[in-house]
């Protein structure tokens, strides 16, 4: 029995019932075990509650339980007979937008929740904008608490229409809208009897059937070299890394960047033997036809569709740190397997996530700000636009004295807003 893996994220406002939905998914797929339930029951009694507080299942930190809120992104695991799921469970509080960015960065799909009573609200727009910016390939809108609007088709159709318009303006090609009640269980794992007018999939049905092939699969080949593997006894020399995008096979013409040497792939090796073809996500070791000096940080790329090599980047930053960003700052930038120095140039337009519009350039960037920026790097970097290849267009900004991650960086302007 071979299953594949879907990585997805949840997003939604604090009271939209996200914890209940996550709890429902875990519970109805039988991913919560008896001792975990007992622990929750014990803790609920200790807190003086008469019914078990299922949020205790997912809020793992002492401070989270004390404050009754989710502070930090957590990862949940569950599976069905056909697929395994890694769920990045992100907090809904506005001050934790950075966690939405974190969860969305690895997600192949996002589930965005709205409350059926209130429809699309500011927080929905904000989260949708972040998901669009991070270019999460697939979006599901769960209209939750449908039991509280009397399973009224007209209400749900109106919210769906409202959101479809928003999604279109953010550049999402298609959105699947599912009316659910996480509390009652309507259309989450079990199909609801209360929504005969709804002929779409249940949430789990959709999660099980959506294709998992990432957009990177069809993009040109890229492989950041992580490590040079040398074995002296057999004179083996191979370049180890994970295929970031596209495919690679023996005989392929490639270019080594930033140096620019051209050669061909001799073999695509793994510990289990050579592969005829390796696709995005596969960790491999590449042997090349020519003896070229290649080090960690270099990128192997398709010779006929290489990334551009540049010291000047126009990028979009999601600022994640309490320490504000000022133009002229000297920081570190990690792109692929290379870390280099960077000087921050002019700040450009800031994205107002309430109105979803670019507004004037700020003087500094504060935590959770999203803005365009120009950067100058010490080493030339082979980069793609994030809009074309997520892995080739993403980078971190790092604070040299503390080593902290300051920003998520996206090369180019990944969010194109329709009027």
């Amino acid at each position: 029995m071979t299953k594949d893996l879907l990585r997805f994220a949840t997003a939604g406002s604090v009271d939209d019932g996200k914890s209940t939905l996550v709890g429902r998914l875990l519970y109805d797929t039988k991913s919560v075990l008896a001792d975990q339930i007992e622990a929750v029951q014990r803790a609920s009694v200790d807190k003086g509650l008469s019914t078990p507080d299922l949020s205790l299942l997912v809020d793992g930190l002492r401070a989270e339980r004390e404050q009754g809120i989710t502070i930090d992104v957590a990862y949940r695991y569950f599976s069905t007979p056909t697929r395994e799921f890694v769920l990045a469970d992100t907090p809904g509080h506005v001050q934790y937008t950075r966690n939405t960015v974190t969860g969305a960065s690895t997600a192949e799909l996002a589930v965005l929740l709205v409350d059926a009573r209130y429809g699309v609200v500011e927080q929905t727009r904000r989260h949708a904008a972040v998901l669009a910016l991070l270019r999460v390939p697939r979006l599901v809108l769960c209209i939750n608490k449908i039991d509280l609007v009397g399973y009224d088709e007209a209400v749900l159709t109106a919210i769906g229409k409202d959101f479809a318009e928003l999604a279109r303006s953010l550049g999402f090609e298609s959105v699947v809208t599912i009316p659910v009640s996480a509390l009652v269980g309507d259309n989450v794992v079990e199909r609801s009897e209360h929504t005969p007018w709804y002929d779409g999939p249940t949430l789990i049905g959709h999660l099980e059937s959506v294709p998992v092939t990432p957009p990177e699969a069809d993009a040109p080949f890229r492989l950041p070299v992580q490590y040079v593997i040398r074995e002296h006894a057999t004179d083996y020399r191979g370049y180890a890394g994970q295929v970031a995008s596209g495919t690679v096979r023996p005989g392929d013409a490639i270019v080594v960047l930033p140096g620019g040497h051209r050669t061909t792939v001799e073999s695509v090796d793994t510990a289990d033997g050579p592969l005829e073809l390796a696709g995005a996500g596969r960790s491999v070791t590449i042997r090349l036809a020519d003896d070229i000096d290649i080090a960690r940080g270099d990128v192997l790329a398709a010779a006929d569709a290489p990334p551009r090599v540049t010291n000047e980047l126009e990028a979009t930053l999601c600022w994640l740190s309490d320490k504000p960003l000022r133009p002229g700052a000297r920081l570190l930038l990690k792109h692929g397997a290379r870390t280099t120095q960077v000087i921050v140039g002019a700040l450009g337009d800031r994205l107002d996530t309430d109105t979803i519009a670019y507004v004037g350039a700020p003087e500094t960037l504060a935590i959770n700000d999203i803005a365009r920026v120009s950067l100058r790097t010490a080493d030339a970097l082979p980069v793609d636009d994030y809009a074309d290849i997520r892995t080739g267009g993403s980078f971190l900004l790092i604070d040299p004295p503390t080593g902290n991650t300051l920003a998520a960086g996206l090369v180019g302007n990944p969010l194109t807003l329709a009027d």
């Binding site: 071979t2 299953k3 594949d4 893996l5 075990l33 008896a34 001792d35 975990q36 622990a39 299942l57 997912v58 809020d59 793992g60 930190l61 002492r62 339980r65 930090d72 992104v73 957590a74 990862y75 949940r76 695991y77 395994e84 950075r98 966690n99 974190t102 690895t106 092939t213 992580q226 490590y227 593997i229 040398r230 074995e231 057999t234 083996y236 180890a240 994970q242 495919t247 096979r249 793994t270 510990a271 289990d272 005829e276 073809l277 696709g279 596969r282 960790s283 960690r296 994640l320 570190l332 990690k334 692929g336 997520r390 892995t391 993403s394 971190l396 790092i398 080593g403 991650t405 998520a408």
Partner: protein, 300 residues
Amino acid sequence: MTVPVMDALDSLESEAIHIFREVAGEFDRPVILFSGGKDSTLLVHLAVKAFAPAPVPFPLLHVDTGHNYAEVIEFRDRIVAEKGLRLEVAHVQDWIDDGRLTERPDGTRNPLQTVPLLDSIVEHRYDAVFGGGRRDEERARAKERIMSLRDGFGRWDPRSQRPELWNLYNGRHAPGEHVRVFPISNWTELDVWRYIQREEIELPSIYFSHRREVFRRDGMWLAEGPWGGPRGSEALEERTVRYRTVGDGSCTGAVESTAGTLDEIIAEVTASRLTERGATRADDRMSEAAMEDRKREGYF
């Protein structure tokens, strides 16, 4: 030719290999924590695959509580020899003998591992420490990053963790600090067993059903040992058991099981209504936040 679809185990394996190679590329003195248990044995297997055909560029470290199962120590030493690895052992007993640690009244040495671990990290100047922790094990671990900074005292601060974006891992650290690395964060217990079966990874025999003299304490079947069991009215009796986790003998319980093959174990784990830690680890029951509190102090 169409690209072969990666299944879940392929994806998890590729992710773990990527993490091993990042650490090899960015750190000076990494080490793999190895106890001979299934998760750390899996880690070593993945490390071997990450650098093949070259040798694994890291040594192993075992913090030995002295309350081990003989089968596990035999297995540990054999694997190290077979794979041509280097093993350091930090014996908790040495710390007790010279007074740096004091034996606890309950006899368990599991919490005592933290000081020898941190002392060994300082002594050997390890800057990256691989562990076999999985986020599905426990709520506090669900919040753990794949690469997680520890300060000069080995402490974890869950409130100020670095965000982990895409597959870009930030391993920057100051001198004296180190990074804990969890390459199998995204694996579940069932993934581990399925992968062990697929890759034909050898494990200590105690994971498979066998007859053993055990006694009942706090709802668990514990084996006799130098840590003070059985005591008082606790009576040894022979049962058919196996272990789901391997750790300090004082707090690691056996489960009654007739599962003697990997197929049978996978069927049993699939049907189980208890998590592995809930079923067999006494130390996690000490308080609501037992794991978080120990991790804050530097426990792996």
